[in-house]
């Protein structure tokens, strides 16, 4: 898949070394897991299959040359046109790298790597990574809460920001304002 995110002129856009290296190691270790990758532009990412996500994450976390020890952000993006939901993971590395490695990454302005998983919209199930990075726990709960991605294999996927009985997942593109909530009428923003 090609991405048109780059708009910096006619010359060949520079490849992102951080993503390239992660990609090479991932392809070597789990060739089936990687679906696609974009290694240029402002937002390079590696797309993996839902089944291969956990393997990919464990590799990214534990491989001596990668050591992404923190899951910075989990995002769900609803794509009704493709009947898909993208789940994006942004991974960073803080602690376990030796100092010179810090520097090497710092040369590339944004030393992070992004993983993408695309799942069908009617069955948005993604294996959890909260057992890989504990910090992903709350992010997954929020993604479930607002976008409705079901993370499997983890305990108690509860809503985190909205009330337990809130109807639907508001960041789905086809979500509609409820008429009322517990007897309190809700005025949608257009009507205000």
């Amino acid at each position: 898949m090609t991405n048109e995110s780059d708009s910096q002129g006619s010359e060949a856009p520079p490849e992102d070394p951080v993503t390239l290296r992660a990609l090479a190691l991932l392809r070597k270790a789990h060739p089936d897991a990687v679906v696609d990758a974009v290694t240029t532009g402002r937002h390079p990412y590696i797309e993996v299959t839902a089944d291969g996500l956990c393997d990919a994450c464990l590799l990214l976390r534990d491989h001596d040359e990668l050591l992404y020890d923190c899951c910075h952000l989990v995002t769900g993006v609803d794509r009704p046109d493709d009947q898909q939901i993208e789940v994006v993971y942004h991974l960073v590395s803080y602690a376990r790298l030796p100092d010179d490695e810090y520097r090497k990454r710092a040369e590339k302005n944004d030393p992070w790597v992004a993983l993408k998983v695309r799942v069908p919209r009617d069955k948005p199930e993604v294996p959890t990574v909260s057992n890989v990075w504990t910090g992903a726990d709350w992010h997954e709960r929020e993604t479930y809460d607002l976008v409705g991605v079901i993370f499997t294999g983890r305990e108690e996927l509860r809503r985190i920001l909205l009330p337990e009985d809130w109807p639907g997942h508001p960041l789905r593109k086809d979500w509609e304002f409820p008429v009322e909530y517990h007897g309190v009428p809700i005025v949608p923003p257009e009507a205000q």
Binding site: N3, E4, S5, D6, S7, Q8, G41, R42, H43, D69, C70, C71, H72, L73, T75, V77, D78, V88, H90, V92, Y94, A95, R96, D99, Y102, R105, A106, N109, D110, P111, W112, A114, W133, T134, G135, A136, D137, W138, H139, L146, R159, I160, L161, L162, P163, P170, L171, P189
Partner: protein, 393 residues
């Protein structure tokens, strides 16, 4: 016993059984700390299971301040959405604006004038000073020392006046705009700013006498609520809490954004040389105090280097960045604020996702608070310095 027996840790006593000894059945006491509680810094609700004063387990409940700013961002044009950004971390509005504007500008490949970059750095660092002053003072309040809290307001007031002068508001500025800043700063304003910096530097030792070097303060914070390196990184804790744990990471230095690579400043790392261990409450407090001086340094350097010129780039009235995504990280006073933005070529974002640092910073208390006393828990939550606006967004 009275029917209220369940509200005490003693539990009910069965008839004919001895009062003490192995037959005494004790129950855990379940507390609801918050959403209206003085020490939860807003509307955090923590359900505590405790054995008398000792916390056995707890669970934070968030969402009371959820204002759906991500959803609003999908409904409004970029420039109209920008004021909502201020309300994430309402004590660091300038820093929020800075990161959000960087993301929007990077989506469209917009260049910001040199002078505007400098002004952004200056206001962001002034905001960091103000936010840290607040954190330092409020931490005293959490531990029962009221005076430093009011003392810091004297300096904070000056800083707020400064930002008020250029932005027209005291807390939520909407000053950093897409393509630059709202208006230029004057010579007089810069003079005032220097007075403010001097005042902060002069007063900081006073606060340290009241808190940092106080014996009771050290007893309350040293070795309490330790978040070590491994736990901090695994939970995604960032900012002063991460550095206090001994991880030398400051996004301003290690992944420089804007023009932070032009300034010389230290990144203090825990443990504090004064007392305590890495990652304890004391280290976090000490780190904030140190960071105030570093921010003062940055502002002074920025004032020295600042060129003349325009403060606003030419931005089309209807700003429509091309299809694409960006992920922008910035160092807020409370940690790393990151924004993931997806554009579909419209005048509004297709998807906005904000990573509030407090969100991850507060999640960690579920793991590290077991066995703390109730007073320690307050010290712990206070030292993480969370802002609920950012947790719930």
């Amino acid at each position: 016993m009275s029917p209220r027996a369940e509200s005490t840790s003693t539990g009910e006593v069965h008839e004919g059984q001895p009062l003490v000894g192995r037959d005494l059945r004790t129950e855990e006491l379940v507390f609801n700390m918050g959403p209206q509680h003085p020490a939860t810094h807003g509307v955090l609700r923590v359900v505590i299971k405790s054995d008398g004063e000792v916390v056995r387990s707890l669970e934070p409940h968030i969402g009371n301040l959820h204002r759906s700013s991500e959803k609003i961002g999908e409904e409004l044009p970029y420039y109209q959405w920008l004021p909502y950004v201020d309300r994430w971390d309402y004590l660091a509005a300038m820093n929020n604006e800075h990161v959000a504007c960087m993301a929007i500008e990077r989506l469209g490949g917009l260049e910001v004038p040199e002078r505007a970059e400098y002004i952004r750095i200056i206001v962001a660092e002034v905001q960091r000073i103000l936010s840290h002053l607040m954190a330092i003072g409020v931490y005293g309040l959490d531990l029962g020392a009221f005076t430093p809290f009011l003392h810091q307001f004297r300096e904070r007031e000056r800083g707020l006046d400064l930002l008020d002068h250029i932005a027209g508001a005291r807390l939520l500025y909407h000053y950093v705009r897409i393509g630059g800043v709202k208006r230029d700063v004057s010579k007089e304003w810069i003079d005032e700013l220097e007075v403010f910096l001097d005042a902060v530097e002069k007063r900081l030792p006073d606060y340290n006498t009241l808190l940092l070097h106080n014996h009771i303060f050290q007893e309350r914070t040293c070795g309490i609520g330790v978040i070590d390196r491994e736990v901090a990184v695994r939970w995604g804790v960032t900012g002063p809490a991460l550095r206090a744990a001994g991880v030398s990471w400051d996004t301003r230095r290690d992944a420089p954004y804007s023009i932070y690579d032009r300034f010389e400043f230290d990144v203090p790392v825990g443990p504090s040389p004064i007392a305590g261990v890495a990652g304890d409450c004391f280290a976090r407090h000490w780190l904030r105090v140190r960071e105030v001086t570093e921010s003062v340094k940055i502002v002074r350097q920025a004032l020295g280097q600042m060129p003349e010129g325009p403060v606003m780039a030419r931005v089309p009235k209807s700003y429509k960045p091309p299809v694409g995504e960006v992920y922008v990280r910035g160092e807020n006073p409370r940690g790393e604020l990151a924004t993931y933005m997806v554009s579909e070529g419209k005048d509004r974002a297709y998807r906005i996702r904000c990573r509030g640092p407090s969100f991850s910073n507060i999640a960690v208390i579920t793991e590290v608070s077991e066995g703390l006393l109730l007073g320690d828990l307050v010290a712990m939550i206070g030292s993480l310095d969370i802002v609920l606006g950012e947790v719930d967004r």
